[in-house]
Amino acid sequence: MTASPRYVINAALLIFLAVLPFLTDWAGDSFYTGLVSRILILAIAALSLNLLIGYGGMVSFGHAAYIGVGAYVVGIGAFHAFEDGIDWMLNGYAQLAAALFGSAVIALIIGAISLRTRGVYFIMITMAFSQMLYFSAVGVETYGADDGLTIYSRSDMLGLIDLNNEKSLYYLIFLSLLVVLYLMHRLVGSPFGNVIRGTRSNEARMRAIGFSPYKYRLTAFVIAGVIAGYAGFLMANLNDFVSPDLMHWTRSGDLIIMIVLGGMSSLFGPLYGALAFLILEELLSSIPLTVGGLRIGEYWQLIFGPLLILIVLYARNGIDSFLPAARKEE
């Protein structure tokens, strides 16, 4: 099989991301490593959400909740290690296990209830659950309430990898992204993925040919939640800080915007979407122009909003539609 132009563009992007820390070293500005680290973490979360939205037709509007769960595990672990001297709670593997398990359990509970509804009700109920978690975090004084928690010590990976080194952390994030991309690729083409995509396409026919889609959809919901929980684990280590804001419904909205912007019926769409979203935010908010005493950069959403509307109106599958066609996927 010869490489399609699409394949070359995707590969070029990944190679660029692989060498980025060295480029920023060379440019003498490590700011961009941090920015791209954040973008890639959100891309991982957006990829997991796209399993639900793009492939499964389940518009979950509370996906940031799992990022919050994963991040709070790291924050709470570091807090008790620091305040109470419970050293094992700083152990990165224990934190990781708790982050994945915690997000799985919460996704299982939210999914089991939400997936009994469809359409707008599903959107509203997933959003309501995530807001419940948000307000729970706001309410817990011990862990900083709405001020959040500063993480004084990043997860201790016992010498395997040093998360305090920004470059090591970046490569952990980048490798995680590659793994999640490959996982999604396999998942979508598997018998399980076939059921998820078929249910999006025609649920009535799925039942008529003998599928009970609920248990498959719930499994997809949990898989997506766990991956987002993992993104939260990375996010807490990158930011050295967690706050309820991570779980606010607008954060869930941002993830959906990334998917729509990048293209939801393609594997790489959410990655392009996350890159475009955060780079545009960075660029637009640094516009130095001042009109009538107002700095335009502070109101970057005024420009971003119409741009998003144009893309939704004119590009049926976001940025993905501007890339050369791949061989047909479905």
Binding site: S190, P191, F192, N202, R207, A208, G210
Partner: protein, 249 residues
């Protein structure tokens, strides 16, 4: 003694304030093609939906292959051998022809909690699907997206998907709907072949097709079977002529 694969006894269903099924009793013998005809609104599709489990009857009893269907869900009924084609084409539109049939084969090949295996490389799913496409004359369209098929081809695929579920009995809801003369002739030929292998309940408006294919015909009017018999008996039945066939002359 003949054995019934499907027995419907005193089925009642109120639907949108109407009595859509009114103490209806019909049966389908093993290996038989039983056609149901009747004017629009006679309750034909409502009957099919009650048989598949999409809606549940108010009262009455449905027995299929010796089992009472009351507590069985739609997917469970598919697994004991009841397959259905839809009056309004209901396919996976953004999938290829082969993917549509393969998905139906997959539904009857154990559970689908396989996260790693590639569907496209799985001969256990692909081979049976291709066999069915060959049988229905759609094999040269295997890689075509459903959205790009002609109406006639979509109607044929509709039946191919039902066949892929290893059925004992087919419930065909107006398979010829909207088909051109040539296409429906081809489909009649296909159904004539299928007849020898499956019990079939056929709901159809195309009288030529019904009278050439059916072993027995039931005439449904206002949710009741006003007559059941061989094509000859139905043709000469006075009540049927008045209620239904007369309309066409």
């Amino acid at each position: 003694m003949t054995v019934n694969i499907l027995t419907v006894e005193k089925l009642v269903k109120h639907y949108d304030g109407l009595l859509a099924t009114d103490e209806l009793s019909i049966d389908v013998r093993d290996g038989e093609l039983h056609a149901i005809i009747g004017p629009n609104g006679a309750g034909k599709t409502t009957l099919i939906k009650q048989l598949t489990g999409e809606i549940s009857p108010d009262s009455g009893r449905i027995t299929f292959a010796g089992r009472n269907l009351r507590r069985l869900t739609e997917p469970q009924r598919s697994h004991i051998g009841l397959a259905r084609s839809f009056q309004i084409t209901s396919l996976f539109k953004n999938f290829t022809v082969l993917d549509n049939v393969r998905l139906a084969v997959q539904a009857h090949s154990g559970h689908s909690f396989h996260f790693w295996r590639k569907v496209k490389d799985d001969d256990r799913l692909t081979e049976p699907a291709l066999d069915i496409l060959r049988e229905m004359g759609l094999d040269d369209r295997a890689e075509t997206l459903v959205a790009n098929l002609s109406h006639g081809e979509q109607r044929q695929l509709e039946i191919a998907v039902a066949l892929a579920t290893k059925p004992k009995m087919l419930l065909l809801d107006e398979p010829m709907a909207g088909m051109s003369g040539e296409d429906s002739e081809r489909l009649v030929a296909h159904l004539a072949k299928l007849k020898s292998r499956f019990s079939i309940l056929l709901v159809e408006h195309d009288m030529d097709a019904v009278f050439s294919l059916a072993d027995r015909i039931s005439v449904l009017v206002y949710g009741q079977a006003i007559a059941t018999g061989t094509p000859e008996e139905i043709r000469s039945n006075e009540k049927v002529r008045q209620a239904y066939l007369g309309e066409e002359e």
